[in-house]
């Protein structure tokens, strides 16, 4: 089937099987391998994308569900070669180790900050609770998101 959608701000038309998983369409058809597949069952959050600005699991969405939506993947979050403030903060705070969870973490964090620009540490933990990280122990990730919120508030 032919689907039209906005992918990282670009009008996109694809001819794909409607029952193909969104994560496979993004990675294999669009070549956007920043979106990771961890568990494939909605448990780990590595495949997080934004659908009309809300965080979703692309392993539990089918290609047909992309139609008409505004999709943001990690590749679309930076602006013309400038890192997104969250990406910058993750680097500054050492919040990236193996990196596999990072794209999903950053997209969940960005959805959280859009909804709640001034989150407490508890809000941040709650907001990221569907994204698993097996390296960092989460502290530096929470630090990075908290620092981004502070920075946005000051600017």
């Amino acid at each position: 089937m032919t689907i039209h959608f906005l992918l990282n701000g670009k009008k996109t038309t694809l001819d794909v099987a409607p029952d193909r998983r969104a994560v496979d369409v993004l990675r294999e058809v669009c070549g956007l391998t920043g979106t990771k597949e961890g568990c494939g069952a909605g448990e780990c959050g590595a495949c997080t994308i934004l659908v009309d600005g809300e965080s979703r699991l692309s392993c539990l969405m089918l290609a047909a569900q992309l139609a008409g939506r505004e999709i943001t993947t990690i590749e679309g979050i930076s602006d013309e070669g400038h890192l997104h403030p969250l990406q910058d903060a993750f680097i500054q705070h050492g919040a990236v180790q193996c990196g596999f969870c990072t794209p999903g973490m950053i997209l969940s964090a960005s959805a959280l900050l859009n909804r709640n620009p001034n989150p407490s540490r508890a809000d941040i933990r709650m907001g990221l609770s569907g994204n698993l990280c097996r390296c960092t122990g989460y502290q530096k990730i929470v630090d990075a998101v908290a620092a981004t919120a502070r920075r946005e508030e000051e600017s």
């Binding site: 909605g42 959050g45 539990l60 089918l62 139609a67 709650m126």
Partner: protein, 283 residues
């Protein structure tokens, strides 16, 4: 390749279903797509996704009742002022359900139709005496959630029928709503045991009315009139709750599984009652 339909209206949905009566219906996909991937559900001739069906997604109120559209997501309900105002026990349960990602996708109708013994919205819906509205495009059936869910993963939903709404009376006679879930971690964890409670406390702290239910400790949600009767007329105290806890431990029918032993679940079922003392609203 399986066709995937995304009806925008119920009229479209009924016409798809008429053409493909064997089609599988999903909303968030957080259960069905996982089961299809693991082979528990084998390939369907077609899939119908309810995510764009605005008609059954809103929350409405009348003077004494609330109607929740079955395709409302958990996140939408968690933020909804009508739910927070009138059904705080449901809000409390939604806080513990899955993760923000799962709550953005999964729906209340999906949680009911999946009918898992560990479904987090189910204990509150049982004590709220929720009714489900089932429609096949021509006729509407309404039954209590207790009648609808017949076993683990089993419901009275018939082929060609859709759960369209959840109907609830505002529980105005209860001034203490409580839900607690015990799992192996806070997020993305199936309940080892959970308990929902609606109590009416007098100014002197006497329990005047009580409805209680337990999740994950039987094939379906467990309710127990014996336990409720043991509380009614008594002061909310550790002695009262401990006596009731002794009774519920005899009634629940838990199983051993990877998450916990039956014996542990039995203990937790009783201990969850004791927590009502800490959770009671300030008088």
């Amino acid at each position: 390749m399986t066709q995937v339909y995304l009806p925008r209206t119920l009229a479209e949905l009924w016409s798809y279903l008429e053409g493909k009566p064997e089609a599988l219906v999903y909303a968030g996909g957080t259960d069905l797509l996982v089961k299809m991937r693991t082979g528990k559900v084998t390939a369907a001739p077609a899939l119908i996704c309810l995510e764009r069906l605005a008609e059954i997604r809103d929350v409405r109120e009348t003077a004494d009742a609330i109607r929740i559209g079955a395709a409302a997501t958990h996140a939408e309900l968690l933020r909804h002022p009508l739910i927070l105002t009138h059904l705080p026990v449901l809000t409390q349960a939604l806080h513990t359900l899955g993760s923000p990602l799962i709550r953005n996708m999964g729906t209340i109708g999906g949680n009911i139709c999946t009918a898992s013994p560990a479904g987090d919205t189910l204990p509150p819906l049982y004590i709220l005496r929720a009714e489900v509205e089932l429609c096949n495009g021509e006729t509407i059936r309404i039954m209590t959630i207790e009648e609808f869910i017949t076993g683990p993963g089993a419901t009275q939903l018939q082929k060609g029928e859709l759960l369209t709404g959840v109907l609830l009376k505002k529980p105005v006679e209860y001034n203490f709503h409580h839900f607690e879930k015990v799992g192996q971690r806070k997020s993305m964890a199936c309940a080892v045991a959970s308990m929902a409670a609606l109590l009416r406390l007098s100014p002197a702290g006497v329990i005047e009315a009580a409805r209680l239910s337990w999740g994950s400790v039987g094939p379906t949600v467990v309710t127990a009139a014996v336990v409720e009767d043991a509380l009614i007329g008594e002061k909310l105290s550790l002695e009262t709750l401990a006596a009731a806890a002794g009774k519920i431990k005899q009634i629940v029918a838990p199983i051993d599984d990877v998450r916990a032993t039956a014996e542990y679940r039995r203990s937790v079922s009783g201990n969850l009652l004791l927590r009502l003392l800490d959770a009671r609203p300030p008088s």
